[in-house]
């Protein structure tokens, strides 16, 4: 029997390291025709705000080589509708639930954390300090270590749930941000969010996206993500969740190898809605074939010498 379970901080044990990346998995229920939600390490919801948000004007997405740009603009149903209309289905599916959330001010983050803390059926919170597509979507918190730390400190006071802080790659030094949120009490960090990018149309001479810029995701960003996860994992003592272009079991294993305790699959959920379950099964097969009985023996086993 292979032990696939991983510990994200003190309070959150996942049955396997495969999570879904916020914004690519809806509120979970949408994927029930394709897989069993309780077979995943955790379901991470679309980012929630206090009030519903309409998001950006279309066009919102465009494909790019080995990836895509999106500027959805954090469209979401709001925390109230999530708790009444979506969370019950996740509970019924016995999924491990991580709620991703964001605000425009520290007060809003705090209020949300408090509301979510009072609910049963939520296993952890992921703070989005890094969405690149809205001016007030938390990015100002995600690019400055002091701001990031003060936000995490404030949220930490309002909840005893395990806290994951999701980091932006659009910074000069991601390690300093990771260390700052660790010091402020974050139980984990997840990285990377999308890289800010752009596409233009030569014929119309206009940007392709109505928002002009968007977040680049998909296999195109995997080497950057792997490098950042590797660097952060070597510099913090809290668990790191690796995200960025994971499209196969091998991709997931690479992130675990460089030190990620868990991984999140994002864009590839769109291409193959069953991919997360397939990767979870694939990791188990790999460990079995490699005669590794505990996944923790594999995590961070990168040979540098």
């Amino acid at each position: 029997m292979i032990d696939l379970s991983v510990l994200l901080g003190s309070g959150l044990r996942l049955k396997n390291p495969v999570m879904t990346a916020s914004g690519t998995f809806g509120y979970g229920r949408e994927y029930e025709p394709y897989l069993e939600l309780n077979k995943l390490g955790a379901v991470v919801t679309k980012g929630l705000s206090l009030l519903p948000k309409p998001g950006n004007e279309p066009p919102r997405i465009v494909e790019t080589p080995c990836g895509m740009l999106n500027a959805i603009g954090l469209e979401n149903i709001g925390v109230e509708a999530f708790l009444s209309d979506e969370l019950p289905a996740l509970k019924a599916a016995q999924a491990t639930v991580v709620v991703n959330f964001f605000g425009e001010t520290i007060d809003e983050y705090e209020e949300l954390a408090e509301i979510l803390d009072q609910e049963t059926g939520i296993d952890a919170l992921e703070i989005n300090i890094s969405c690149p597509n809205v001016k007030a979507g938390g990015l100002q918190f995600g690019t400055d270590p002091r701001m990031a730390a003060s936000l995490v400190t404030a949220v930490r006071r309002r909840t005893s749930l395990p806290l994951i802080t999701k980091l932006s790659p659009n910074v000069t030094d991601i390690i300093s941000i990771a260390m700052a949120v660790e010091a402020a009490g974050s139980d984990c960090v997840s990285l990377i969010n999308t890289l800010t990018g752009m596409a233009v149309d030569l014929q119309s001479r206009k940007p392709v996206l109505a928002n002009i810029t968007g977040g680049l995701s998909g296999p195109a960003i995997k080497p950057i993500a792997l490098r950042m996860v590797h660097q952060v994992a070597r510099n913090v003592n809290i668990p790191v969740i690796g995200i960025g272009g994971i499209s196969s079991t091998n991709d997931a294993l690479e992130f675990l190898l460089v030190g990620a305790t868990a991984i999140q699959v994002g864009t590839c959920n769109f291409v193959n809605p069953a991919i997360t379950a397939e990767i979870a099964a694939g990791i188990e097969t790999f460990l079995h074939e490699s005669s590794i009985s505990h996944i923790s023996d594999f995590i961070g086993s990168l040979q540098l010498a």
């Binding site: 309409p54 279309p58 959805i72 469209e75 296999p219 769109f270």
Partner: protein, 272 residues
């Protein structure tokens, strides 16, 4: 709805930039299919990362061993598909979305089918359904629009159906066949001529055509259903990339998803 590997069974060039591709499907695929629904199809092998995303295509016609898509080459993905070898395995997802409201179309109802360009793919699925369900062809009015006569697809087949009662009208931008001008000119004229017996309009085509058609339908108080096209990453309602504005909802919820709430919409609900 299925996620399945599908074999390219046949590929036929119809014009220099349109082709028909026949794909294999699981056994119960046809039973689930509602005309107007679509599939998401990979344009590369399962482990290829580029192009990454599946593409949405209207299902044109069911076949005993699968189904056919009718595709116009508009970019890199469709160009790759155009040159796909017979026997290639693609990754498919579908049928997806909501089709035309076939269960509310009474057999005594006048039906106006309006297809612009490659929009004919979706309209053929509906016409096939009407034939299969023995709708009287004398009640069906098929109006086709294209840039030029050589881009009118399946025209011989439609002409044969006119002998059994189907009404067929054609508009081309250059006047090389039928009315010179827009397909909506024909719709407008026909609605005026039959003001006392309004049809239900069902249409697929370019957005400007659908927008004009929606307005005509409102003016004539005709029920009208439009099949929209959009770029989409997922096809099942999660990426939120294919939204379009909805007339009936408040500013907090201004959008509907083309993939999940459509692709066929009641024209009265859309802000086109």
């Amino acid at each position: 709805m299925f996620l399945f590997p599908s074999t390219v069974l046949q590929l036929t060039e119809l014009t220099p930039d349109t082709f028909r591709i026949r794909l294999s499907s699981p056994e119960n695929f046809a039973r689930q299919f509602i005309p107007g629904q679509f599939v998401m199809a990979s344009v590369a092998g399962p482990s290829h990362l580029d192009p990454l995303l599946k593409r949405p295509f209207s299902i044109c016609r069911l076949r005993p061993d699968g189904f056919e898509l009718l595709i116009k080459v508009v970019g890199r993905g469709t160009e790759i598909l155009q040159h796909m070898a017979i026997g290639t395995l693609l990754s498919l997802h579908g049928p997806l979305g909501n089709g035309y409201p076939v269960n509310v179309i009474g057999k005594d109802r006048k039906i106006m089918l309006v297809a612009g360009g490659i929009g004919i793919a979706s309209i053929i699925s509906l016409l096939d359904y009407c034939l299969e369900a023995a709708y009287p062809l004398k009640n069906i009015n098929l109006i086709l629009g294209a840039r030029t006569s050589s881009e009118l697809l399946y025209i011989d087949e439609f002409r044969q159906l006119t002998e059994k009662g189907l009404t067929l009208s054609i508009a081309t931008d250059d006047g090389s066949r039928g009315h010179r001008g827009l397909v909506t000119d024909l719709v407008s004229r026909q609605l005026q001529n039959n003001a006392e017996n309004n049809p239900i309009i069902l249409s697929c085509g370019p957005l400007p055509m659908l927008t004009a058609l929606g307005k005509l339908a409102v003016e004539a108080s005709c029920p009208c259903y439009l099949s929209l096209e959009s770029r989409m990453a997922c096809g099942f309602g999660v990426c939120l990339g294919c939204v379009t504005r909805n007339k009936t909802k408040d500013e907090k919820h201004p959008w509907v998803k083309v993939c999940h709430d459509g692709p066929v919409f009641d024209a009265a609900t859309l802000q086109l």
